[in-house]
Amino acid sequence: MAVTHESTAGIGGIRGAGDLVFRMELQKMKINEAKKYVADKLGAKVSDLADCAVMKDLREDLNIGTTQSRPDAGLGIQTKFRIADILGIKINSVEKFKKEAGI
Protein backbone atom coordinates (compact mmCIF):
# COMPACT_ATOMS: atom_id res chain seq x y z
CA MET A 1 0.00 0.00 0.00
CA ALA A 2 2.91 2.38 0.72
CA VAL A 3 4.03 1.95 -2.87
CA THR A 4 0.53 2.82 -4.16
CA HIS A 5 0.41 5.98 -2.04
CA GLU A 6 3.83 7.08 -3.31
CA SER A 7 2.99 6.24 -6.93
CA THR A 8 -0.35 8.02 -6.80
CA ALA A 9 0.49 11.11 -4.86
CA GLY A 10 3.91 11.06 -3.17
CA ILE A 11 6.82 13.40 -3.76
CA GLY A 12 9.05 10.34 -3.79
CA GLY A 13 11.33 10.71 -0.78
CA ILE A 14 14.97 11.12 -1.83
CA ARG A 15 14.04 10.28 -5.45
CA GLY A 16 12.60 13.79 -5.33
CA ALA A 17 12.48 16.27 -2.47
CA GLY A 18 9.93 14.50 -0.27
CA ASP A 19 12.31 14.24 2.68
CA LEU A 20 12.99 17.98 2.53
CA VAL A 21 9.31 18.94 2.30
CA PHE A 22 8.50 16.61 5.19
CA ARG A 23 11.17 18.32 7.33
CA MET A 24 9.38 21.64 6.77
CA GLU A 25 5.97 20.13 7.59
CA LEU A 26 7.49 19.01 10.89
CA GLN A 27 8.15 22.74 11.42
CA LYS A 28 4.36 23.25 11.07
CA MET A 29 4.36 24.48 7.46
CA LYS A 30 1.36 23.34 5.43
CA ILE A 31 2.08 21.51 2.19
CA ASN A 32 2.04 24.39 -0.29
CA GLU A 33 4.11 26.63 1.96
CA ALA A 34 6.56 23.78 2.63
CA LYS A 35 6.95 22.97 -1.07
CA LYS A 36 7.51 26.62 -2.01
CA TYR A 37 10.03 27.03 0.82
CA VAL A 38 12.01 23.98 -0.30
CA ALA A 39 11.82 24.92 -3.99
CA ASP A 40 13.10 28.42 -3.25
CA LYS A 41 15.98 27.07 -1.15
CA LEU A 42 16.93 24.63 -3.92
CA GLY A 43 16.54 27.23 -6.67
CA ALA A 44 13.98 24.96 -8.30
CA LYS A 45 10.31 25.10 -9.29
CA VAL A 46 7.62 23.48 -7.12
CA SER A 47 6.82 21.13 -9.99
CA ASP A 48 10.47 19.96 -9.98
CA LEU A 49 10.27 18.58 -6.44
CA ALA A 50 8.72 15.27 -7.50
CA ASP A 51 10.57 15.11 -10.84
CA CYS A 52 13.23 12.47 -10.33
CA ALA A 53 15.23 13.59 -13.38
CA VAL A 54 15.61 17.15 -12.15
CA MET A 55 16.04 16.14 -8.53
CA LYS A 56 18.67 13.46 -9.24
CA ASP A 57 20.92 16.08 -10.85
CA LEU A 58 20.16 18.64 -8.17
CA ARG A 59 20.67 16.24 -5.28
CA GLU A 60 23.95 15.01 -6.74
CA ASP A 61 25.16 18.57 -7.32
CA LEU A 62 24.24 19.56 -3.77
CA ASN A 63 25.50 16.21 -2.41
CA ILE A 64 22.37 15.66 -0.28
CA GLY A 65 21.82 11.95 -0.97
CA THR A 66 20.01 9.95 -3.62
CA THR A 67 18.66 6.43 -3.79
CA GLN A 68 21.83 5.25 -5.50
CA SER A 69 25.03 4.41 -3.67
CA ARG A 70 28.03 6.22 -5.20
CA PRO A 71 31.68 6.64 -4.27
CA ASP A 72 32.79 10.05 -3.03
CA ALA A 73 29.21 11.03 -2.21
CA GLY A 74 27.60 12.01 1.05
CA LEU A 75 25.70 9.37 2.96
CA GLY A 76 23.29 9.60 5.88
CA ILE A 77 24.48 12.07 8.49
CA GLN A 78 26.88 13.71 6.02
CA THR A 79 23.96 14.65 3.76
CA LYS A 80 21.97 15.99 6.71
CA PHE A 81 24.73 18.50 7.54
CA ARG A 82 24.21 19.93 4.06
CA ILE A 83 20.39 19.71 4.21
CA ALA A 84 20.34 21.65 7.50
CA ASP A 85 22.46 24.34 5.91
CA ILE A 86 20.40 24.54 2.68
CA LEU A 87 17.03 24.62 4.45
CA GLY A 88 18.26 26.90 7.24
CA ILE A 89 17.01 24.61 9.98
CA LYS A 90 18.54 22.67 12.85
CA ILE A 91 18.43 18.90 12.39
CA ASN A 92 18.46 17.08 15.69
CA SER A 93 20.73 14.21 14.59
CA VAL A 94 23.24 16.68 13.17
CA GLU A 95 23.36 18.52 16.48
CA LYS A 96 23.77 15.17 18.25
CA PHE A 97 26.62 14.21 15.90
CA LYS A 98 28.40 17.51 16.55
CA LYS A 99 28.07 17.00 20.28
CA GLU A 100 29.41 13.43 20.22
CA ALA A 101 32.21 14.28 17.76
CA GLY A 102 33.22 17.33 19.78
CA ILE A 103 32.61 19.67 16.83
Binding site: M1, A2, V3, T4, H5, E6, S7, T8, A9, G10, I11, G12, G13, I14, R15, G16, G18, D19, V21, F22, R23, E25, L26, Q27, K28, M29, K30, I31, A34, V46, S47, L49, A50, D51, I64, G65, T67, L75, G76, I77, T79, K80, I83, K90, I91, N92, S93, E95, K96, F97
Partner: protein, 350 residues
Protein backbone atom coordinates in the same frame (compact mmCIF):
# COMPACT_ATOMS: atom_id res chain seq x y z
CA UNK B 1 -29.71 -0.61 -19.48
CA UNK B 2 -27.51 1.80 -17.48
CA UNK B 3 -23.76 1.73 -17.91
CA UNK B 4 -22.06 0.01 -14.99
CA UNK B 5 -18.87 1.08 -13.24
CA UNK B 6 -16.47 -1.11 -11.32
CA UNK B 7 -16.07 0.10 -7.76
CA UNK B 8 -15.18 -1.27 -4.33
CA UNK B 9 -16.95 -1.72 -1.05
CA UNK B 10 -15.46 -0.98 2.35
CA UNK B 11 -14.70 -4.68 2.75
CA UNK B 12 -12.34 -4.46 -0.28
CA UNK B 13 -14.52 -6.55 -2.62
CA UNK B 14 -15.36 -5.20 -6.07
CA UNK B 15 -18.87 -4.59 -7.39
CA UNK B 16 -20.54 -3.12 -10.48
CA UNK B 17 -22.60 0.00 -9.85
CA UNK B 18 -24.47 2.67 -11.83
CA UNK B 19 -23.93 6.41 -12.11
CA UNK B 20 -27.11 7.04 -10.12
CA UNK B 21 -26.00 4.71 -7.33
CA UNK B 22 -22.57 6.33 -7.07
CA UNK B 23 -24.09 9.82 -6.97
CA UNK B 24 -26.64 8.79 -4.36
CA UNK B 25 -23.90 7.24 -2.18
CA UNK B 26 -21.85 10.43 -2.42
CA UNK B 27 -24.85 12.51 -1.32
CA UNK B 28 -25.67 10.13 1.52
CA UNK B 29 -22.05 9.95 2.70
CA UNK B 30 -21.50 13.69 2.83
CA UNK B 31 -24.89 14.23 4.50
CA UNK B 32 -24.01 11.70 7.19
CA UNK B 33 -20.70 13.42 8.00
CA UNK B 34 -22.24 16.90 7.88
CA UNK B 35 -24.98 15.86 10.28
CA UNK B 36 -22.66 14.12 12.73
CA UNK B 37 -19.96 16.78 12.69
CA UNK B 38 -22.30 19.79 12.32
CA UNK B 39 -20.17 20.88 9.36
CA UNK B 40 -20.94 21.86 5.75
CA UNK B 41 -21.54 19.05 3.25
CA UNK B 42 -19.65 18.83 -0.04
CA UNK B 43 -20.65 21.36 -2.71
CA UNK B 44 -22.20 20.26 -6.01
CA UNK B 45 -18.88 20.83 -7.81
CA UNK B 46 -17.01 18.76 -5.24
CA UNK B 47 -19.52 15.92 -5.52
CA UNK B 48 -19.17 16.03 -9.32
CA UNK B 49 -15.38 15.91 -8.99
CA UNK B 50 -15.60 12.94 -6.62
CA UNK B 51 -17.99 11.16 -8.99
CA UNK B 52 -15.48 11.56 -11.85
CA UNK B 53 -12.69 10.13 -9.69
CA UNK B 54 -14.81 7.15 -8.58
CA UNK B 55 -16.11 6.44 -12.10
CA UNK B 56 -12.75 6.87 -13.85
CA UNK B 57 -12.21 3.93 -16.22
CA UNK B 58 -8.51 3.72 -15.30
CA UNK B 59 -7.48 1.14 -12.76
CA UNK B 60 -5.10 3.55 -10.98
CA UNK B 61 -5.71 7.30 -10.84
CA UNK B 62 -3.21 9.97 -9.84
CA UNK B 63 -2.78 13.65 -9.01
CA UNK B 64 -1.47 16.19 -11.50
CA UNK B 65 2.30 16.89 -11.40
CA UNK B 66 2.96 19.56 -8.79
CA UNK B 67 0.08 18.45 -6.56
CA UNK B 68 1.98 15.69 -4.77
CA UNK B 69 2.07 15.52 -0.97
CA UNK B 70 4.33 13.89 1.61
CA UNK B 71 3.73 10.50 3.15
CA UNK B 72 4.27 9.57 6.79
CA UNK B 73 4.02 6.13 8.38
CA UNK B 74 2.74 4.78 11.64
CA UNK B 75 4.37 1.59 12.93
CA UNK B 76 7.18 2.33 10.49
CA UNK B 77 9.66 -0.43 11.24
CA UNK B 78 6.93 -2.98 11.93
CA UNK B 79 5.77 -3.11 8.32
CA UNK B 80 8.55 -4.99 6.55
CA UNK B 81 10.20 -6.90 9.40
CA UNK B 82 7.07 -8.04 11.26
CA UNK B 83 3.89 -7.73 9.20
CA UNK B 84 5.51 -8.80 5.92
CA UNK B 85 7.66 -11.33 7.75
CA UNK B 86 10.81 -10.36 5.90
CA UNK B 87 13.83 -11.37 7.95
CA UNK B 88 15.54 -8.02 8.26
CA UNK B 89 16.37 -5.80 11.20
CA UNK B 90 14.94 -2.35 11.77
CA UNK B 91 17.91 -0.47 10.35
CA UNK B 92 17.61 -2.44 7.12
CA UNK B 93 13.89 -1.65 7.04
CA UNK B 94 14.56 2.09 7.44
CA UNK B 95 17.08 2.11 4.59
CA UNK B 96 14.77 0.01 2.41
CA UNK B 97 11.97 2.53 2.97
CA UNK B 98 14.36 5.37 2.11
CA UNK B 99 16.21 3.98 -0.91
CA UNK B 100 13.88 1.36 -2.40
CA UNK B 101 10.36 2.52 -1.50
CA UNK B 102 11.02 6.28 -1.77
CA UNK B 103 9.33 7.12 1.53
CA UNK B 104 9.29 10.76 2.56
CA UNK B 105 9.77 9.87 6.23
CA UNK B 106 9.82 6.82 8.45
CA UNK B 107 9.76 6.01 12.14
CA UNK B 108 11.64 3.65 14.38
CA UNK B 109 9.35 1.67 16.66
CA UNK B 110 9.26 -1.27 19.04
CA UNK B 111 7.21 -4.37 18.22
CA UNK B 112 4.77 -3.68 21.11
CA UNK B 113 4.24 -0.16 19.69
CA UNK B 114 3.25 1.45 23.00
CA UNK B 115 5.22 3.91 25.13
CA UNK B 116 4.96 1.95 28.37
CA UNK B 117 6.86 -1.22 27.31
CA UNK B 118 9.68 0.84 25.80
CA UNK B 119 10.75 2.12 29.23
CA UNK B 120 12.70 -0.99 30.30
CA UNK B 121 14.53 -1.16 26.96
CA UNK B 122 15.11 2.55 26.48
CA UNK B 123 18.89 2.16 26.23
CA UNK B 124 18.57 -0.35 23.39
CA UNK B 125 16.02 1.86 21.60
CA UNK B 126 18.29 4.87 21.93
CA UNK B 127 21.19 2.90 20.52
CA UNK B 128 19.07 1.83 17.53
CA UNK B 129 17.99 5.43 16.90
CA UNK B 130 21.56 6.76 17.13
CA UNK B 131 22.87 4.11 14.73
CA UNK B 132 20.02 4.64 12.25
CA UNK B 133 20.47 8.41 12.27
CA UNK B 134 24.07 7.98 11.08
CA UNK B 135 22.93 6.15 7.93
CA UNK B 136 19.56 7.72 7.12
CA UNK B 137 18.94 10.88 5.11
CA UNK B 138 15.14 10.96 5.41
CA UNK B 139 13.41 12.31 8.54
CA UNK B 140 13.41 9.51 11.12
CA UNK B 141 10.86 9.78 13.92
CA UNK B 142 10.20 7.57 16.95
CA UNK B 143 6.65 6.35 17.27
CA UNK B 144 4.34 4.48 19.64
CA UNK B 145 0.79 4.56 21.02
CA UNK B 146 -0.24 6.10 24.36
CA UNK B 147 -2.33 2.93 24.89
CA UNK B 148 -3.91 3.69 28.26
CA UNK B 149 -5.31 0.18 28.47
CA UNK B 150 -1.85 -1.06 29.45
CA UNK B 151 -2.13 0.76 32.78
CA UNK B 152 -5.08 -1.33 34.00
CA UNK B 153 -4.85 -4.33 36.33
CA UNK B 154 -3.47 -6.98 36.15
CA UNK B 155 -0.84 -5.55 33.77
CA UNK B 156 -0.82 -2.10 35.33
CA UNK B 157 -1.59 -0.32 38.61
CA UNK B 158 -5.04 1.13 37.82
CA UNK B 159 -8.50 -0.36 38.15
CA UNK B 160 -10.03 -1.29 34.81
CA UNK B 161 -12.61 1.31 33.79
CA UNK B 162 -14.03 -1.04 31.17
CA UNK B 163 -14.98 -3.41 34.00
CA UNK B 164 -16.15 -0.65 36.37
CA UNK B 165 -18.45 1.12 33.90
CA UNK B 166 -20.82 -1.85 33.31
CA UNK B 167 -21.13 -2.15 37.10
CA UNK B 168 -22.34 1.45 37.30
CA UNK B 169 -19.21 2.53 39.18
CA UNK B 170 -18.86 5.76 37.22
CA UNK B 171 -16.83 7.73 39.79
CA UNK B 172 -14.41 4.84 40.28
CA UNK B 173 -14.00 4.44 36.51
CA UNK B 174 -13.25 8.13 36.14
CA UNK B 175 -10.73 8.05 38.99
CA UNK B 176 -8.97 5.06 37.42
CA UNK B 177 -8.64 6.89 34.09
CA UNK B 178 -7.32 10.01 35.78
CA UNK B 179 -4.68 7.89 37.51
CA UNK B 180 -3.76 6.21 34.21
CA UNK B 181 -3.33 9.60 32.54
CA UNK B 182 -0.64 10.52 35.07
CA UNK B 183 1.28 7.30 34.40
CA UNK B 184 0.95 7.64 30.62
CA UNK B 185 2.09 11.27 30.53
CA UNK B 186 5.13 10.38 32.59
CA UNK B 187 6.00 7.43 30.33
CA UNK B 188 5.47 9.30 27.04
CA UNK B 189 7.60 12.22 28.23
CA UNK B 190 10.31 9.84 29.47
CA UNK B 191 10.53 7.77 26.27
CA UNK B 192 10.14 10.71 23.88
CA UNK B 193 12.73 12.79 25.75
CA UNK B 194 15.23 9.96 25.51
CA UNK B 195 14.62 9.45 21.79
CA UNK B 196 14.93 13.19 21.09
CA UNK B 197 18.20 13.20 23.03
CA UNK B 198 19.34 10.40 20.69
CA UNK B 199 18.66 12.46 17.58
CA UNK B 200 15.07 11.63 16.61
CA UNK B 201 13.68 14.06 14.03
CA UNK B 202 10.32 13.93 15.70
CA UNK B 203 7.94 11.95 17.85
CA UNK B 204 4.78 10.26 16.62
CA UNK B 205 1.89 9.48 18.95
CA UNK B 206 -0.27 7.00 17.10
CA UNK B 207 -3.80 5.63 17.48
CA UNK B 208 -4.56 8.42 19.95
CA UNK B 209 -7.98 8.01 21.52
CA UNK B 210 -8.14 4.23 21.21
CA UNK B 211 -8.89 4.07 24.95
CA UNK B 212 -11.20 7.07 24.82
CA UNK B 213 -10.89 10.68 25.94
CA UNK B 214 -8.33 9.86 28.65
CA UNK B 215 -6.02 8.54 25.93
CA UNK B 216 -6.34 11.87 24.11
CA UNK B 217 -5.84 13.87 27.30
CA UNK B 218 -2.61 12.01 28.14
CA UNK B 219 -1.26 12.59 24.62
CA UNK B 220 -2.06 16.31 24.56
CA UNK B 221 -0.60 16.90 28.02
CA UNK B 222 2.57 14.95 27.15
CA UNK B 223 3.10 16.88 23.91
CA UNK B 224 2.58 20.19 25.68
CA UNK B 225 5.38 19.29 28.11
CA UNK B 226 7.64 17.98 25.35
CA UNK B 227 7.11 20.88 22.95
CA UNK B 228 8.11 23.33 25.68
CA UNK B 229 11.10 21.17 26.65
CA UNK B 230 12.26 20.65 23.05
CA UNK B 231 11.15 23.62 20.92
CA UNK B 232 11.80 22.99 17.22
CA UNK B 233 11.17 19.25 17.48
CA UNK B 234 8.31 17.97 15.34
CA UNK B 235 5.42 16.11 16.95
CA UNK B 236 2.93 14.08 14.96
CA UNK B 237 -0.36 12.79 16.35
CA UNK B 238 -2.44 10.18 14.54
CA UNK B 239 -5.97 9.63 15.79
CA UNK B 240 -7.70 6.29 16.38
CA UNK B 241 -11.08 7.38 15.03
CA UNK B 242 -13.27 10.21 13.82
CA UNK B 243 -14.88 10.80 17.20
CA UNK B 244 -13.33 11.04 20.69
CA UNK B 245 -15.08 8.39 22.78
CA UNK B 246 -16.21 9.63 26.18
CA UNK B 247 -15.01 6.76 28.35
CA UNK B 248 -14.51 9.41 31.07
CA UNK B 249 -16.74 12.10 29.64
CA UNK B 250 -15.66 15.08 31.70
CA UNK B 251 -12.00 15.47 30.76
CA UNK B 252 -10.97 18.82 29.30
CA UNK B 253 -7.97 20.35 27.56
CA UNK B 254 -7.57 24.13 27.91
CA UNK B 255 -11.12 24.27 29.25
CA UNK B 256 -12.72 22.41 26.35
CA UNK B 257 -14.29 18.99 26.74
CA UNK B 258 -12.37 16.29 24.84
CA UNK B 259 -15.13 13.71 24.45
CA UNK B 260 -17.30 14.00 21.38
CA UNK B 261 -14.90 16.03 19.25
CA UNK B 262 -14.62 15.35 15.51
CA UNK B 263 -11.47 16.00 13.42
CA UNK B 264 -12.07 19.73 12.87
CA UNK B 265 -12.12 20.22 16.66
CA UNK B 266 -9.53 17.53 17.45
CA UNK B 267 -6.99 19.36 15.29
CA UNK B 268 -7.42 22.63 17.19
CA UNK B 269 -6.63 20.92 20.49
CA UNK B 270 -3.62 19.22 18.87
CA UNK B 271 -2.41 22.55 17.53
CA UNK B 272 -2.75 24.17 20.96
CA UNK B 273 -0.75 21.37 22.56
CA UNK B 274 2.19 21.87 20.16
CA UNK B 275 1.56 19.17 17.57
CA UNK B 276 3.23 19.83 14.19
CA UNK B 277 1.38 17.32 12.02
CA UNK B 278 -2.16 16.14 12.79
CA UNK B 279 -3.24 12.76 11.42
CA UNK B 280 -7.01 12.55 11.15
CA UNK B 281 -8.83 9.23 11.04
CA UNK B 282 -12.33 8.48 9.79
CA UNK B 283 -13.56 4.94 10.19
CA UNK B 284 -14.38 2.96 7.04
CA UNK B 285 -17.80 1.29 7.00
CA UNK B 286 -17.09 -2.10 5.44
CA UNK B 287 -20.67 -2.60 4.19
CA UNK B 288 -20.84 0.75 2.37
CA UNK B 289 -19.35 1.69 -1.00
CA UNK B 290 -16.11 3.53 -1.66
CA UNK B 291 -18.20 6.51 -2.84
CA UNK B 292 -20.15 6.66 0.44
CA UNK B 293 -17.06 6.25 2.63
CA UNK B 294 -14.95 8.70 0.66
CA UNK B 295 -17.66 11.39 0.63
CA UNK B 296 -17.80 11.13 4.42
CA UNK B 297 -14.02 11.38 4.78
CA UNK B 298 -13.78 14.37 2.42
CA UNK B 299 -16.49 16.20 4.37
CA UNK B 300 -14.64 15.73 7.66
CA UNK B 301 -11.23 16.43 6.09
CA UNK B 302 -12.38 19.63 4.39
CA UNK B 303 -13.61 20.96 7.72
CA UNK B 304 -10.33 20.04 9.42
CA UNK B 305 -8.02 21.55 6.79
CA UNK B 306 -10.13 24.72 6.69
CA UNK B 307 -9.58 25.52 10.37
CA UNK B 308 -6.09 24.10 10.86
CA UNK B 309 -2.89 26.13 10.93
CA UNK B 310 -0.76 22.97 10.95
CA UNK B 311 -0.47 20.26 8.28
CA UNK B 312 -3.31 17.73 8.29
CA UNK B 313 -2.49 14.23 7.12
CA UNK B 314 -5.20 11.70 6.35
CA UNK B 315 -4.53 8.36 8.03
CA UNK B 316 -4.95 6.20 4.96
CA UNK B 317 -4.13 2.84 6.46
CA UNK B 318 -6.26 -0.26 6.41
CA UNK B 319 -9.87 0.53 7.31
CA UNK B 320 -9.53 4.28 7.79
CA UNK B 321 -10.16 7.42 5.72
CA UNK B 322 -11.89 5.48 2.95
CA UNK B 323 -9.26 2.76 2.54
CA UNK B 324 -11.02 -0.63 2.50
CA UNK B 325 -10.95 -2.69 5.69
CA UNK B 326 -8.45 -5.29 4.51
CA UNK B 327 -4.79 -6.08 5.08
CA UNK B 328 -4.35 -5.97 1.29
CA UNK B 329 -6.43 -3.00 0.12
CA UNK B 330 -6.91 -2.77 -3.64
CA UNK B 331 -4.74 -0.25 -5.48
CA UNK B 332 -7.71 1.13 -7.46
CA UNK B 333 -9.46 2.13 -4.22
CA UNK B 334 -6.27 3.41 -2.55
CA UNK B 335 -5.36 5.64 -5.50
CA UNK B 336 -8.89 7.10 -5.63
CA UNK B 337 -8.80 7.87 -1.93
CA UNK B 338 -5.45 9.67 -2.29
CA UNK B 339 -6.49 11.71 -5.33
CA UNK B 340 -9.84 12.74 -3.86
CA UNK B 341 -8.41 13.74 -0.48
CA UNK B 342 -5.68 15.85 -2.07
CA UNK B 343 -7.74 17.50 -4.81
CA UNK B 344 -11.01 18.05 -2.95
CA UNK B 345 -10.18 18.08 0.77
CA UNK B 346 -6.77 19.79 0.32
CA UNK B 347 -4.97 17.59 2.80
CA UNK B 348 -1.25 18.17 3.44
CA UNK B 349 -0.10 14.57 3.50
CA UNK B 350 -0.96 10.92 3.72
Amino acid sequence: MSEKYLTRYGDNYAAWTTEAEIKQDIEDGTSDAAKRGKIPPMTDDEMKHLYEIIASPERIVSVEPGNEVVVSFDAGTLKLCVRNGIPMDRLQAILTQERALASDSIELCHVDYSYKPVKPIISEERQAMEQAQLLATLPLLYGAMPNLGLYTKPDGPCDNWSELLPLGKIDEARAAQEEAIEHAVRDIVFVASNMIESGADGINLDTVGASGDADVKASLEAVRILSEKYPGTGFEMGMAGEFNLGMHGKLEFDGERIAGLYPHDQVKQAEAAGIGIFGMAVNTNSSKSLAWNLARVITFAKAATAVSNIPVHANVGMGVCGIPLSVIPSADAVSRVDKALIEIAKIDGL
